[in-house]
């Protein structure tokens, strides 16, 4: 049907469009009333720069467009990254923005997820009270659902990073784990590998016990140098491998600690209590943040103590690095009606090393209307 759009049988013409337009206006006005200035990022974004910043899921789903003049472009697959790019290129001072428009993602054959849909959202940059900003964004997104009931789910990637900091092992291993926080299967494989007594293959064992001169001769004899990776890179990694070998496995208790943190799930007040009970000094700052957030949410009338918390939630989107939330419709055919989170690290990547605090959220107006939302 030509008039069908995301989650709606109609909505491109007539009354359905009028209802959707009214709802879009209402959502955007809510954000503007909260002090957000309107922004309008480009539809076509530079592919190389952007795709690097998304996780694997969005990267594989992006619509690429080739232009002989401008090179590879991508139809924006979300707003957060393009808005952050706009903000950082505009000086990066404290600001809050509202936006609304279409985004595009390829879907698998037979998927009921749409390839084109609306997002409306807001982003807060440079705030000085993280807990207050997070609570404000959560409440603004919840209120933008136009009266539709939705189940909240929250998480906090900062707690996973803090648990990694608490690991008694090399910084290199901690960095490897941090790099794969967003790839749960790979993260688990790495943790298992670090916890096991590694048995190298015969050729590798020989290389690792050889002196530097022998190693370099082995590299030289193994074949012509092709590609941009150099023999020095290979020798440097052999050094890293032998250091790692001599380090020995991480303690079973440390592995169990990470697994216990990832298994925390339940009402926020219980999750916080369980995490506090682990009594890890390295995790205290992250847990204080969680506690402040819950207090800020309570002050805004949210039943924060019972807010569902899941430590593994939010590992799908590579740019989130702290608080994450979603508001889910009871209708399984609908996507999360809203969601968002903190992404401080993204601002320094796009700001050339100079970062800012950043938290934001979006709603999906078509899904909200399909769920019975009234403008």
């Amino acid at each position: 049907m030509a008039s069908a759009r995301a989650y709606m049988a109609g909505g491109r013409i007539g009354d359905d469009l009028a209802r959707l337009s009214a709802l879009r206006d209402r959502v955007l006005q809510g954000f503007v009333r909260a002090g957000a200035a309107r922004v309008e990022p480009e539809t076509l974004q530079p592919a190389d720069l952007l795709l690097d910043l998304y996780g694997e899921d969005i990267r594989a789903r992006a619509f690429l467009v080739h232009d002989p003049v401008e090179g590879e472009l991508v139809l924006r697959p979300d707003f957060t990254v393009p808005v952050t790019r706009l903000h950082m290129s505009d000086g990066g001072d404290a600001a809050r923005y509202a936006y609304e428009g279409l985004i595009w993602r390829r879907q698998d054959p037979g998927s009921i997820r749409p390839t084109e849909y609306l997002q409306a959202g807001l982003e807060l940059f440079g705030g000085t009270d993280p807990a207050e900003d997070e609570a404000e964004v959560f409440v603004l997104i919840r209120d933008a659902l136009c009266g539709v009931e939705a189940r909240p789910l929250t998480g906090d990637l900062g707690i996973i990073f803090a648990a990694i900091d608490a690991l008694a092992t090399s910084e290199r291993r901690r960095a490897a784990l941090r790099r794969h926080v967003w790839r749960p299967a790979r993260f688990k494989a790495l943790l298992d590998r670090f916890a096991a007594a590694a048995v190298p293959s015969a050729p590798r064992g020989a290389l690792l016990s050889a002196d530097d001169g022998t190693r370099r001769e082995t590299i030289r004899a193994a074949g012509k140098v092709v590609g941009m990776r150099s023999p020095e890179d290979v020798a440097a990694r052999l050094l890293v491998l032998s250091e790692d070998q001599s380090l020995g496995p991480i303690a079973p208790a440390d592995k169990a600690m990470i697994e216990a943190v990832l298994a925390v799930k339940g009402p926020s007040v219980e999750a916080l209590r369980d995490l506090r009970a682990m009594d890890l000094a390295a995790m205290a700052p992250a847990l204080d943040k969680l506690e402040h957030r819950l207090a800020a949410l309570s002050a805004r009338g949210v039943d924060a103590e019972n807010l569902p918390f899941d430590a593994t939630f939010g590992r799908g989107l590579e740019y989130y690095d702290g608080f994450v939330f979603e508001l889910r419709s009871p209708d399984p055919a609908l996507p999360p009606l809203g969601g968002g989170g903190r992404y401080d690290a993204l601002t320094s990547i796009l700001g050339g090393g100079i970062g800012s605090t950043a938290v934001g959220g979006i709603v999906r107006p078509e899904a909200v209307l399909a769920a019975g939302g009234q403008a």
């Binding site: 694997e56 054959p109 299967a185 293959s201 590798r204 290389l207 082995t218 590609g227 990776r229």
Partner: protein, 229 residues
């Protein structure tokens, strides 16, 4: 008429003809001057369509031919959701080719996909860019790298002589089809221990989307019985 797509030329066509002939189904060129015309004998009601292997995959997916012989690599790479669009009826025992991940032989520190991921991280930190992997199998490559948990790579499109990409310094590693491994060695590359993505060969495939009359269904049953599949 039941439409059967076979490769239009070369060694793959000759092997197909032999495979069908050995099972009592003849494939004849009707006119030696017109390379792309022919007919099927031994079973009535079958129309021969001669196409390239990639066109056969496409036509099967679109339901414009009923049966066809093509490579499993082409099916899995070029037809999204292929398992819903066609059935793999029988492997034909030729056209063997493995889709693999290969890296320079002098990378003596790299044996597995785990190593490749670790190297990609170090490469990016050291050289300021993502490790480049040359391939024409973008979909299969991306899915395999995702499942292996490899990050910090970039696929570089390569439609020919992919093995030479590292030598030409347009990529650090490749994902490509290899049949003997000789070309890899000649280009100073080695296959990773767990770098086999797909063991491909030629398959006789049945389109699930092609309309079939009662008569064509009878023809299909007869053909399958004759071929013993």
């Amino acid at each position: 008429m039941l439409k059967l797509g076979l490769p239009s030329k070369g060694r793959l066509q000759a092997q197909c003809v032999n495979w069908f002939t050995a099972r009592g189904v003849g494939v004849e060129r009707t006119d030696e001057d017109r390379e792309y015309a022919g007919r099927v004998t031994g079973v009535g009601g079958v129309e021969l369509v001669l196409l390239s292997a990639s066109e056969i995959a496409r036509e099967l997916a679109a339901g414009r031919i009923h049966l066809g012989v093509t490579g499993r690599d082409l099916v899995e790479e070029s037809i999204p959701g292929w398992a819903q669009k066609l059935d793999l009826l029988a492997p034909l025992g030729f056209g063997h080719a493995d889709l693999i991940v290969a890296v320079p032989s002098f990378w003596v520190d790299v044996e597995t996909m785990h190593d490749l991921d670790a190297v990609a991280a170090a490469f990016r930190a050291r050289h300021g860019q993502r490790l480049r992997i040359a391939t024409k199998y973008h979909n299969l490559a991306r899915a395999f790298l995702r499942d292996a948990g490899v990050a910090d790579y970039r696929l570089v499109d390569s439609q020919g002589a992919t093995e030479a990409a590292p030598l030409n310094r347009t990529a650090e590693a490749i994902i490509d089809i290899t049949s003997s491994g000789e070309t890899l060695r000649a280009n100073h590359l080695k296959v990773l221990d767990d770098g086999l993505i797909l063991a491909s060969e030629a398959w006789l495939c049945l389109s699930r989307d092609a309309d079939m009359s009662a008569q064509e269904q009878v023809t299909l049953a007869t053909l399958r019985k004759t071929l013993g599949i």
